[in-house]
Symmetry: C2
DNA sequence: CCATTTGCTACACTTTTAGTAGCAAAGCTA
DNA sequence: TAGCTTTGCTACTAAAAGTGTAGCAAATGG
């Protein structure tokens, strides 16, 4: 993989020239499908092709890059059952989970706004 | 703006053909600098150029696109003091905030791993 | 007036992602 | 052991997104 593009704490990333951890995480999670992959893997180890399906046919190129990045970041790992979240990955998921509820609420307000014809 | 690219609940987005709210949010926040902008605006209305500076000279093209998207999504708005988070935006920030602490912890583990020479 | 600041658009360029094809390795199955 | 399937990719081309610089119109301030 192109190591230049691996978001690493202390190294310049998209969002912080000094590599502030929060910005590194934003860069990492901000890449396409990263959060979707984490979401899918929670309590649910999966194979490459299964992840691809779940992520609505994400191209293998992108999936492969994301997986390598997330493995290097210590958020996922390969097990006998396929790809799975590490403990750190599970912890991160727990922090992201409240977004699920919030987003449904947000979506409701959103449609109300658009209906004000 | 290219309305085709505005992530909207119920509409297909990168991540969900049925527009699942959580995936819509992922698409929205996943775009470059979106989370950085929200982070910066918390309790801190700001002008276009100030945001640009804070985001380490994000190009005006991208910033403008992000702002329009986030405004359409109801997360930020224009006030007399410049761009600012809406109530919904502030709520979202509160959910994202715990990531700050987690990420610092994560960064520590990260450097420990790389030092195992 | 004239100079600044602000919010942006245009444009050319680079990076990232998508989409398709296909192949090597591992695991059946007979 | 030959053939089929599944899995985890790589290669390649095209499209989309982001970058970086220049600069302009509107508002603000002397």
């Amino acid at each position: 993989m192109d190591l230049e593009s691996q978001p690493t704490p202390g190294q310049p990333v998209r969002g912080s020239k000094t590599g502030q951890p929060i910005m590194v995480i934003f860069d990492l999670l901000g890449r396409n499908w990263a959060m979707g992959i984490i979401w899918h893997l929670t309590n649910n180890p999966s194979t490459f092709r299964k992840i691809q399906e779940y992520c609505e046919n994400i191209s293998p190129t992108t999936l492969n890059k994301r997986l390598k990045e997330l493995i290097m970041a210590g958020l996922i790992e390969r097990t006998l059952n396929g790809y799975a979240l590490t403990n750190q990955g599970e912890e991160l998921f727990k922090l992201l989970q409240p977004l699920g509820k919030w987003s449904r609420n947000w979506a409701d307000h959103y449609s109300q706004k658009s209906n004000k014809t």
